[in-house]
Structure formats: structure tokens, C-alpha cells
């Protein structure tokens, strides 16, 4: 389990994150939502060990995250960033196989071929395996990057806006993958903008506003009309469809 306690981050004198206490629990999909610039990506960077917090502590099973070496950390958690350009025309299969690199020269590496094939399949990109990554469309690149992160086979998986450049079906696919990973006992943390998508797939929802944790809990607890309106500065209507909250902005 990864735990953040009283975490704060200052960037160039500005506090972008403050007093956040949050647990990342295995077997659960935790979705981070909030307005632009609220600090979601910064929180994700802190939880994944990419950015050391200015205040507070992040631990993985009681160990300080910053004290874990690069390579070991790469076996414990994987991160899908929003940056998915590749400098040279590698093939899709090669890019996904790079996800296995933290396991090189360990006994785990005997599973490389299976892990890559499964990841290609899960992200629905098996048919692209022989294509050059640089020749793919934005949505295809996003899915291949997801496959790479899945191939890494870590117990904790961070996805930073994984649905950003995807069509409706592939958005749902990605969130279904997230659910399935949680079903396998992994911890999944996803940053999303779409509150309805978040409400449909999250076990727990964390709403971030102005660098602070506004609310954590089940989607139904967190997403109330009053709270969403206050945080986003936009009046909304909440409907329940199949027991899941659907957020619709009030339009003229």
C-alpha cells in the first residue's frame, strides 16, 4: 500500500499541493478529479515517486518512496504519462517490450513474451504490433503507451489522463482495463476529467481543488451538485443512471 501523509508541494514559491493525506489501496480503482491546475498531476507525480514532496511523506509498505532505487521502483509501480512521443521509429512490439526492461536479468523475464502479448491484446493494439510507432495516430499511440505500461506488470499502476485522446469506445475500454487490473488485486490510480466516466468506474473518488483534497469517498458521496458547482464554478445537474452518477452541466 502506498500512503501519502500531509503531503505538500511548493513550485517556485507557489503552493500547488498542500496537506493531502491519501492511501492507494490494492484491489481498488482510485480516480483523481478536479479542475485544470488543481494539482492532480502533481499529486500523481508525488504518489508515483517522481517528485519528492516539499512537506509530508509518501511510503510504500512503510518504506520511504524516495529511498527506493530507480530500478526496484520500476518493478513496483508503472506510470502512464501524457507524454507519448517516441524519438525513433521503433516498432509497436519493440515499444511495448521496453515496458519489460525493469525485469531484465531477473527470473521474471521468462514471462516477457507472454506479458507483451497480453498487454498488446488488452490495449487492443495487437494488429499494430509490426507498425512503426511514429506512423500511428494520436489515439493509437495512447493505446500502445498503455500497453507498454501494462506490460511492466507492476502492482501499482498510475494513469495520467489515459482517455484524453481516445474515442468513446476506447475510453470505456481503458477504464474497463483499469477495473480488471483492480480485480487482479492491483492498485490503480487514474487522473480523469470526465466526471461521469470517473463516477462509473471509480471505487473511490478524490476531488482535488486548489491543491487541497476537497473530498474522498465513493462517487455518490463525493459528487454532489452543490460540491461540483462550488469546485468547478459551474452549475450542474446530477442524474443517477444504473446507480452511477451522471454529471450534466446546466445549459440555457
Amino acid at each position: 500500500m502506498i500512503s501519502a501523509t500531509g503531503v505538500g508541494v511548493d513550485l517556485e514559491g507557489t503552493t500547488v499541493l498542500d496537506g493531502v493525506t491519501l492511501d492507494v489501496v490494492e484491489g481498488e480503482v482510485l480516480v483523481l478529479v478536479g479542475p485544470n491546475g488543481a494539482g492532480k498531476s502533481t499529486l500523481l507525480a508525488v504518489l508515483s515517486g517522481e517528485r519528492p514532496p516539499t512537506r509530508g511523506a509518501v511510503t510504500l509498505d512503510g518504506r520511504e518512496l524516495g529511498a527506493i532505487r530507480h530500478r526496484e521502483l520500476a518493478r513496483l509501480r508503472s506510470v502512464l504519462t501524457q507524454e507519448n512521443t517516441v524519438s525513433f521509429p521503433f516498432r509497436v512490439s519493440e515499444v511495448v517490450a521496453m515496458g519489460r526492461s525493469p525485469w531484465a536479468r531477473t527470473i521474471e523475464s521468462r514471462n516477457d513474451i507472454v506479458a507483451v502479448a497480453d498487454a498488446l491484446d488488452a490495449a487492443d493494439v495487437t494488429h499494430l504490433a509490426h507498425r512503426r510507432y511514429t506512423s500511428l495516430s494520436g489515439g493509437e499511440k495512447a493505446r500502445v503507451s498503455l500497453a507498454r505500461v501494462l506490460a511492466q506488470g507492476a502492482r501499482t499502476i498510475y494513469l495520467d489522463e489515459p482517455t484524453a485522446s481516445l474515442d468513446l469506445r476506447h475510453q470505456e475500454d481503458v477504464m474497463r482495463i483499469a477495473r480488471r487490473l483492480a480485480g487482479q488485486g492491483r492498485a490503480v490510480v487514474v487522473v480523469l476529467h470526465d466526471l461521469t466516466l470517473a463516477g462509473a468506474y471509480a471505487d473511490r473518488l478524490a476531488l482535488i481543488s486548489n491543491g487541497r483534497l476537497e473530498a474522498v469517498g465513493s462517487p455518490a458521496e463525493v459528487l454532489t451538485e452543490e460540491r461540483v458547482e462550488r469546485v468547478y464554478g459551474l452549475p450542474v445537474e446530477l442524474h443517477l443512471v444504473g446507480g452511477k452518477p451522471v454529471v450534466v452541466p446546466l445549459r440555457e
Binding site: 517522481e50 520500476a74 524519438s87 525513433f88 521509429p89 521503433f90 525493469p102 509490426h130
Partner: protein, 351 residues
């Protein structure tokens, strides 16, 4: 999957075969041609005799023998070593800049090395031995590489425009330094500095060849060890870090590697531009961008290119020895332009 994988292996084998043929062919051809014509059997015989195999092909004329071993062979060996060093330096540079247009000559690392070597000449330090020159060239190259690296990178990548502009600035600065040194140097020093600016394999000695070859071999081995990490670095700096690569250490190690390979080449042969651009690029087109294979093939490809360029340099004009840097730039310039043009078309702008 296996069918396509097989095709790629076949391409790799084909490339190795072509490179080997080019190398051996180039070496023999280059040993034969010159003011004193030597037959291919004499070349092979002489090499066999030197390795302890007595044979009937070996030349009986001591002039032929000394032409081969004092003039031509060291020159050819130098070409192989320098070509390998420059091509590998180019491949490594492209990997850490995340940009296929990065090249020691283009971004000013070679000029930095030449400036360092010129400083050693003007200060009269060359009398301390050939190593001094190499150390100064390495220092100049290192300084230039670090400068380019610090100035031109943003968010772990280097845009083409920034890279080229930085290259112009570094080249201009090193050029000014060289001009100043030319101005204050005596006539002997001047001649030497001009030689550095043009690049040549003329007058290579075994002692120098040994230094360049040792650095080229060690540098290539180091680059091969780092190869997998270079692959992962292509995903961008953040993603590489998330995959457990110590990006900072890789970056520093690679900068030193590039400076070392370029510096040693420049120290003994002057500025020979575009080898590091053309060779890895052509090889990437044939076998793909995976760095281990790319670096190995580049070292052989660079050697082959240099041997043929040098052969051309000393046989195009009868009785004259053209600077080899002139020739590689003559080929590399248009190639560079073509790459720029293609990249511009692909990305829809100069970014």
C-alpha cells in the same frame, strides 16, 4: 510475427555481409592504389606474412613492403578507427538528444575539439607528446558538448531549430577562437591549425593509430553496454525514469563518451563532419533504430565510409591529397539538407 522477425534478421545478416565486403574491399583497394601500384595478391601476402604465415604472394621488393606498412596501412587503420569513433559518437549523440539530426560536426563538438587542439599547438604543448593534443581536444569537445546540451534541451527533448541554432552559435564561437589562434600563431602553427580545420588522414603513424583505435574500441563497447538504455530513452526522459533508467547518470556518461570519441578523432585527424550523421541514419533505415545493433553496425559502417572517402581524397586529383573533411562535407551537406527537408515535411514545420 516470426515471418517479419525473420525478415528483419535477414536484413541484419545482409547488412553485415555488405558491410564486411565493403570493408575488406575498401581496405584492399586502398592498399593497392597510389603513386606506387601494388597488386592485391601482394597486399594479402604481406598481411599473411606479418601474421606469421609464409607464402608465395608476399612482395619481395622492400619498397613495396615499406610503402604498405609505413604509409598505407597506418592510414587505413586510422580511417577505420576514426570512422568508427565518429559514427558511434553520432549514434550516441542522437540517442541522448532524442533527435536524429544531432551530430558532433553539426552541433559544434568537433569545432570545440579543434579549438582545444589549436590551443595546445599555439601554447607549444605538443612537444610533451601526442597525448597532450588528444587531452586538449577532448577538453574542447567536452566543453562544447555540455554547452550544447545545457542550452538546447527542453523537457528532455531537443527541437531541430534549437539544436541547429545552438550549433551555429557554438561553431561561430569556436571559429572565432580558431581565427584568433591562427592570428597569433607562428607560420608552423598556422599550417597545423589549418590542417585541423580541414581534416586529413595523411601522415598517420602507428603510435597515433593505437591511441585512436583503443579509444574507439572502448567507446564503442561502452555504447553497446548502454544500448538498451538508449532505446528506453527514446520514450522520453520521464518515461525512461519510470522504467528504472537513471537518466542523469546516463546523460553524463554519454556526454563524456561523445566528447571522448569525437575528441580523439579530431585530435589526430581534424574535423571530419557528417560521418556521425550519415552512417547511423542509413543503418537505421536498413535495420531499424534498436541501439545495440545500430551501434555495432555504425562502427563498421563508419570505418568503411572513411576508407572509401580517404581513397577518393587521395586519388581524385592526381598527385594531390585532398582534405578528407572536405569530401565528407561534400557528401554530408546535401544529405543533411535532405533529412531536414523530410523532417520539415513530416512535422509540418521547423519544430
Amino acid at each position: 510475427m516470426s515471418e517479419r522477425g525473420g525478415a528483419r534478421v535477414a536484413r541484419g545478416v545482409l547488412l553485415s555481409g555488405v558491410l564486411a565486403a565493403l570493408l575488406v574491399g575498401g581496405v584492399i583497394l586502398s592498399s593497392m592504389l597510389g603513386q606506387l601500384a601494388v597488386t592485391p595478391t601482394e597486399v594479402v601476402g604481406s598481411v599473411l606474412r606479418a601474421t606469421g604465415i609464409p607464402n608465395g604472394w608476399a612482395p619481395t621488393d622492400p619498397i613495396v613492403e615499406s610503402t604498405l606498412w609505413v604509409v598505407r596501412f597506418p592510414r587505413i587503420a586510422m580511417g577505420l578507427a576514426v570512422g568508427a569513433a565518429l559514427a558511434v559518437a553520432g549514434a550516441v549523440m542522437q540517442a541522448i538528444f532524442g533527435n536524429p539530426l544531432a551530430e558532433p560536426g553539426v552541433v559544434g563538438v568537433s569545432s570545440g575539439g579543434a579549438f582545444g587542439a589549436a590551443v595546445a599547438i599555439v601554447l607549444g604543448l605538443t612537444s610533451f607528446g601526442v597525448g597532450t593534443l588528444a587531452v586538449f581536444a577532448f577538453a574542447g569537445s567536452l566543453l562544447a558538448t555540455m554547452l550544447v546540451y545545457v542550452v538546447s534541451r527542453a523537457n528532455g527533448r531537443t527541437e531541430v531549430v534549437t539544436l541547429l541554432l545552438t550549433g551555429i552559435a557554438v561553431n561561430a564561437f569556436a571559429g572565432a577562437g580558431l581565427a584568433f589562434l591562427l592570428f597569433i600563431a607562428d607560420s608552423g602553427g598556422r599550417e597545423q591549425i589549418v590542417f585541423w580545420q580541414l581534416g586529413s588522414l595523411n601522415g598517420s603513424r602507428w603510435q597515433e593509430v593505437a591511441i585512436v583505435a583503443a579509444v574507439a574500441a572502448l567507446g564503442t563497447a561502452a555504447a553497446i553496454v548502454l544500448g538498451r538504455r538508449f532505446d528506453i530513452l527514446a520514450l522520453g526522459e520521464r518515461n525512461a525514469r519510470h522504467l528504472g533508467v537513471n537518466v542523469e547518470a546516463l546523460r553524463i556518461g554519454s556526454i563524456i563518451l561523445v566528447a571522448l570519441l569525437t575528441g580523439v578523432a579530431v585530435a589526430f585527424c581534424g574535423i571530419i563532419a557528417f560521418v556521425g550523421l550519415v552512417v547511423p541514419h542509413v543503418i537505421r533505415m536498413v535495420i531499424g533504430p534498436a541501439h545495440r545493433a545500430l551501434i555495432v553496425a555504425s562502427s563498421f559502417g563508419g570505418g568503411a565510409l572513411m576508407v572509401f572517402s580517404d581513397l577518393l581524397a587521395r586519388s581524385v586529383v592526381v598527385g594531390a591529397d585532398l582534405p578528407i573533411g572536405l569530401l565528407t562535407s561534400l557528401i554530408g551537406g546535401p544529405f543533411f539538407f535532405f533529412l531536414l527537408f523530410r523532417q520539415r515535411k513530416r512535422s509540418g514545420g521547423w519544430a
